[in-house]
């Protein structure tokens, strides 16, 4: 059924449809309405799950880890500082190979204090062993939560579904919520796994000198994850007539310039791309939906042969530049061809990213032969 809802509400409905048994979460702007709604669903009996109101995000993830270790399907949601507080336990979740699904509403990290969109919170958790998706619409947020459970349970890896604070979390749009029978047939009960059991006690994740071997197994699972994500999306397309792929190219064939970005900035880039194509300059747009594992082969396929690549980051790593730019540059090593990569930092702390700003970027790229390093757009004069 079609509903006009926010992305936060889309997450809540998706969680009800996925029927987790345990939810542990702590409210934080702009995520709060996700768990308020889920708490309501639990209270009314629409979702038969144990809702654990914890005292911090660290405890939220700890409770999810404990519940998942007993075999339960679990869910949590957070944002920014909350995600940062979970950091230590994110490693535990992936290291114990627990299929936890978490929604993270992208918000800037303090200081200075800012509650608006910025991808730095989750991108800075890239090495924790979580699969990471970045969404563009409310519908994609709903669908990715459903896909995430299937991916997590197949690979025994945790999945983080990211979407931008306010721009998506509090913006209402049409979201189709499939019938429960359709969701159930796409997402059956999770397969059996080795879980904690009081009748047959054992230690999970115990001290070991074989550490490097278990890290290798995590590496192997992540290497296989891109294909699993692709297959789950294909199956989703078959069942629901919509899908998202791992990356979304837009007019990238024969493009002279390709703008690479994640999240909602891609929409603005497409509008500008259409405008430039009418003026005779082929500007393509590549939206990266799956960030971990980084789909480098697919990205190289799209970027091969293009004259210039511009990566537009709503995030940054001090001392390094745009985080997605670093990943793209690293992926392009596989091509053994010199493609200049222009790096732009834009829209941090929820600053509006306008079509004019994207046009400014394209003008700059046109006027310079080589990349100028990390360029910031939208600063005070």
């Amino acid at each position: 059924m079609k509903n006009v809802i926010s992305s936060n509400q889309a997450v809540s409905y998706a969680v009800v449809s996925a029927k987790p048994q345990v939810i542990a979460a702590y409210p934080i702007t702009p995520q709060s309405s996700v768990i308020e709604m889920i708490a309501n669903f639990c209270d009314r009996g629409d979702l038969l799950a144990k809702f654990i109101p914890v005292e911090s995000e660290h405890s939220a993830m700890a409770a999810c880890i404990g519940a998942s270790a007993t075999g339960a399907r679990v869910f949590t949601a957070t944002s920014s500082q909350g995600l940062a507080l979970m950091h230590e336990l994110l490693h535990y979740a992936s290291g114990l190979r627990l299929p936890i699904v978490m929604a993270n509403v992208n918000r800037a990290l303090a200081a200075p204090f800012n509650i608006k969109a910025d991808l730095s919170d989750s991108l800075s958790q890239r090495d924790t062993g979580w699969i990471q998706f970045y969404c563009e619409t409310g519908q994609e947020v709903f669908d990715t939560i459903i896909q995430a459970y299937q991916i997590a349970e197949q690979l025994l890896l945790p999945v983080m579904v990211n979407y931008e604070g306010f721009i998506l979390s509090h913006t209402y749009e049409v979201v189709d919520i499939p019938k429960q029978e359709q969701i159930d047939s796409f997402l059956p009960l999770p397969p059996q796994r080795h879980c904690l059991d009081v009748e047959d006690p054992f230690v999970m994740g115990q001290t070991t000198d074989l550490y490097i071997n278990f890290r290798y197994k995590l590496y192997q699972a992540m290497e296989a994850a891109a294909i699993v994500c692709k297959n789950v999306d294909t199956k989703f397309q078959r069942n629901f007539d919509r899908g998202y792929e791992l990356i979304q190219p837009y007019y990238c064939d024969k493009a002279e310039i390709i703008l690479v970005t994640a999240g909602t900035i891609a929409g603005t880039c497409r509008v500008v791309s259409d405008r430039y194509r009418k003026r005779g300059l082929n500007v393509g747009v590549l939206r990266i939906r799956l960030f971990r594992p980084f789909p480098k082969d697919q990205i190289c396929q799209v970027l091969e042969g293009v004259k210039k690549v511009a990566v537009i980051d709503r995030d940054f790593s001090p001392g390094c530049g745009g985080i997605i730019a670093q990943e793209v540059k690293s992926a392009l090593q596989g091509l053994r061809a010199h493609i200049p990569v222009y790096e732009y930092i834009i829209g941090l702390g929820g600053q509006d990213v306008t079509d004019d700003m994207i046009e400014t970027i394209i003008t700059r790229i046109n006027n310079t032969k080589e990349s100028e390093g990390c360029t910031w757009i939208g600063l005070l004069g």
Binding site: L96, V203, L210, F214, K217
Partner: protein, 91 residues
């Protein structure tokens, strides 16, 4: 002993036992030696041992060297001076 292969280990470090299977005795560099004649059976060593590596025995206490990490707390707390720490490997 059969050589451990990558394919034989699970995806994470899950033991097939509880912490009883974690034999930590080989961490020890100092070993507690209990003189049963001096022991007054007060039970301080048993209560203070942080690893539960001392058990009551008939008339005295037994040190479980399979688990004892050699921290020396028992020797320090023993009011009768019945426990002495000796360097591991010395006679």
């Amino acid at each position: 002993m059969k050589k451990l292969r990558m394919k034989d280990i699970p995806i994470t470090s899950n033991s097939l036992f509880t912490t009883e299977g974690n034999e930590t005795g080989d961490w020890r560099s100092q070993s507690p030696l209990l003189d049963a004649e001096k022991c007054s059976q007060c039970g301080f060593c048993w209560m203070y041992c942080p690893d539960n590596a001392i058990r009551p025995e008939k008339g005295s206490f037994m040190i479980l060297y399979k688990y004892c990490k050699g921290c020396g707390i028992c020797a320090k707390e023993c009011p009768s001076g019945a426990i002495t720490m000796v360097t591991e490997g010395s006679s």
